[in-house]
């Protein structure tokens, strides 16, 4: 019996035993990399190499190589920054908030989702870092370090500085949380390597596992640590996108100067993050044959979260429009009127279609339990969320207060290259993770499989046995 409820689907199908879990997850770490993996890695590395060239050109020549101008001083860089940070939010939501709510279905997806968070935050951080131009001086501009100007300290009243603290704390805490979860699983791989007689792997994974033994006392402390980290990460993840939204909301630019931004950004972040989790996991589960762990039920639940957050985002868009009219501020009114039917109307309507209309298709059970439909819609949602940030940033800036400054933004190859760089970085990290780290939290999944599932498997599927009681 895997799940005690008779009204819920089992979280792990196929009558898996505890031993099967170790085997199924550790298998791809122990095997030689497949051809498919090498191909995927090669493509990521090509993207990374091209992106790296663009980044080098940027550092060498300065940010003038980007398509920014005096009116549109922020464009793709901050769009991509917010997009990547937002994607990261799903990982923490799954691992922390769902842990606090005791949602056991998180267990087979939290590992990969948290890895995604960490890599996404690294990708996000590259944009503000390179936008500083002289990267090597960035520490003095961003951190309160003693310097030769006085010391002239950083401005703690600025949301941009809050962002530095928020993103770096978020990254560090997520990394620690993820790593703590990995420790017992590394020990499993170590002990399997001991049995298989692979000394090198055993030593490496022992070091990674900090010599984990799994004593009852350590587990007790470990659970306490996990719960508190979840408790800390929950307000943290909400604070991160709140602070990101304040980068805009505390300014006086029409279209940015909005109190609705923090909740609206957080909902959007979770929305896009779940879409990215789905994109990644739908591929991972097939490549690593994990269909029994990441089931249609998991996919359906994630799609339901997409409906909820997508609807919140939709309401936020409509509220923004209403308030811009109701406030009676003509600048605010113009900013939104310009979004809807100005030169960037195509971006606005792409955003509306992808983010507001497309997730509503998940109300149909056939669509939200279809793998192909979910995969396509998850990508559409992420495209939509990219357009959301682009619309907010560029359409608010390109019509300045002085009409003579009105202009358009055209990305150069270096804008595109920097974005490609982060894709290369993200997928390189993700494929390395998928090959060398357990992609599913083995210890947690084992705890939801009752050991008598083996017996039940012989008698029939767990669900059927459950019903006869």
């Amino acid at each position: 019996m895997q799940v005690t409820s008779s009204v819920r689907d089992p979280l792990v199908t196929g009558g898996k035993t505890v031993k099967d879990v170790s085997h199924d997850i550790s298998r791809q770490i122990e095997a030689k990399p497949t051809m498919l993996w090498w191909m995927a890695m090669a493509i990521s590395l090509v993207l990374l190499a091209f992106g790296f060239y663009c980044v080098c050109m940027l550092v060498w020549h300065g940010i003038g190589v980007w398509g920014l101008n005096k009116t549109v001083g922020w464009a793709w860089d901050i769009t991509n920054f917010v997009w990547w940070v937002g994607i990261g939010h799903a990982g923490t939501l799954i691992s922390a908030i769902l842990l606090l709510f005791r949602q056991k279905w998180r267990m087979s997806i939290n590992r990969a989702a948290e890895a995604m968070t960490i890599f996404a935050v690294i990708c996000a951080a590259t944009f503000p870092a390179f936008h500083m131009g002289r990267l090597w001086l960035g520490f003095y501009w961003a951190l309160p370090l003693p310097n030769t100007f006085g010391s002239l300290w950083v401005n703690f009243n600025s949301p941009l500085l809050w962002d530095v603290f928020a993103i770096s704390t978020y990254f560090t805490v997520s990394l620690v949380f993820w790593y703590i979860g990995l420790i017992p699983d590394f020990a499993t791989i170590r002990d399997r390597a001991v049995v298989q007689g692979n000394k090198i792997r055993a030593t490496v994974y022992n070091a990674l596992s900090f010599g984990w033994q799994g004593g009852a006392k350590t587990w007790m402390r470990y659970e306490s640590v996990a719960l508190i980290l979840a408790g800390l990460s929950t307000p943290l993840v909400l604070s991160v996108h709140t602070i990101v939204s304040m980068d805009f909301a505390t300014s006086v630019i029409p279209g940015w100067h909005t109190t609705i931004f923090p909740p609206y950004f957080v909902a959007g972040a979770i929305f896009s993050g779940f879409a990215m989790v789905l994109t990644l996991l739908l591929v991972t589960r097939v490549v690593f044959k994990l269909q029994d762990y990441i089931t249609i039920y998991h996919i359906e639940l994630m799609n339901i979260i997409i409906i909820v957050t997508g609807s919140i985002v939709g309401i936020a868009y409509i509220t923004e429009l209403f308030i811009s009219w109701y406030s009676g501020v003509e600048y605010e009114g113009y900013a939104f009127f310009n979004r809807i039917q100005g030169p960037y109307a195509w971006a606005y309507w792409s955003m509306m279609t992808c983010n507001v209309i497309s997730p509503q298709l998940f109300w149909v059970k056939k669509i939200r339990t279809s793998i192909v439909a979910t995969f396509v819609l998850s990508i559409i949602v992420n495209i939509g969320m990219w357009f959301e940030r682009f619309v907010i940033i560029v359409t608010s800036l390109h019509r300045d207060y002085v009409p003579s400054s009105w202009t358009q933004f055209h990305p150069t190859i270096y804008d595109i290259g920097q974005y490609i760089f982060t894709f290369g970085l993200f997928f390189t990290c993700f494929f390395l993770f998928a090959k060398f780290f357990p992609v599913i939290n083995m210890a947690e999944v084992k705890s939801i499989i009752r050991s008598d599932s083996e017996r039940l498997h012989n008698e029939g599927t767990p669900r059927e046995v459950e019903r006869t009681h």
Binding site: T17, V173, V194, S209, G211, Q213, I228, L232, P235
Partner: protein, 176 residues
């Protein structure tokens, strides 16, 4: 006989049988060295008689340190060391300092607690742990009983006690 050298190791197949066994073994007056499980088994710490972890207190104290540090730093830097008027607000404007204070509280609390956890659990990346049974990170629950701390029981007593308590295997394990 030295402590921490000679053990009787009981191997159990599932979490319920190990919890029952711990109850029986402890009722028999035997001191258990430790139980090793592949995943956290709820209720095991209670039957083993472990006190609740004090790590939450450590987390709170580290968090408090973070809060104090952040408020002191910001007030001193912008309020006294180089006072600046930004947006017409006070030099040291508490409201604007809240986000950084919050982040540093979380950061110190998390890092401090995890460091404490690693220290008190005596986890070291460069050291091999004592493995009573390699299967304890796979699918078996392993109970280790130190012979030296249970002198009034013979090996055979402990073996039969473990077997009666539901162990699927009982082995002897000696460390140098």
């Amino acid at each position: 006989m030295d402590v921490n050298k000679n053990f009787i190791v009981g191997v159990f197949d599932d979490e319920q049988s190990v919890i029952d066994a711990v109850r029986k073994v402890r009722a028999g007056g035997v001191k258990i060295h430790e139980v090793f499980t592949p995943f956290p088994v709820h209720g095991l710490d209670e039957v083993l008689g472990y006190k609740r972890s004090r790590l939450p207190i450590a987390a709170f104290l580290f968090g408090l340190t973070g809060t104090a540090l952040a408020l002191t730093m910001q007030t001193w830097m912008l309020g006294y060391d180089w006072p600046m008027i930004i947006g017409g607000k006070n030099h040291a404007s508490l409201a604007a300092f809240i986000p950084v204070t919050f982040e540093l509280t979380v950061l110190l609390s998390a890092l401090g607690m995890v460091a404490t956890f690693i220290l008190v659990s005596d986890m070291k990346p460069y050291r091999w742990p004592r493995q009573f049974d390699v299967r304890s990170t796979d699918d078996k629950h392993v109970m280790a009983i130190d012979l030296a701390t249970n002198k009034r029981f013979s090996k055979d007593d402990l073996t039969s006690l473990l077997q009666n308590a539901g162990a699927s295997e009982v082995n002897e394990k000696n460390f140098e």
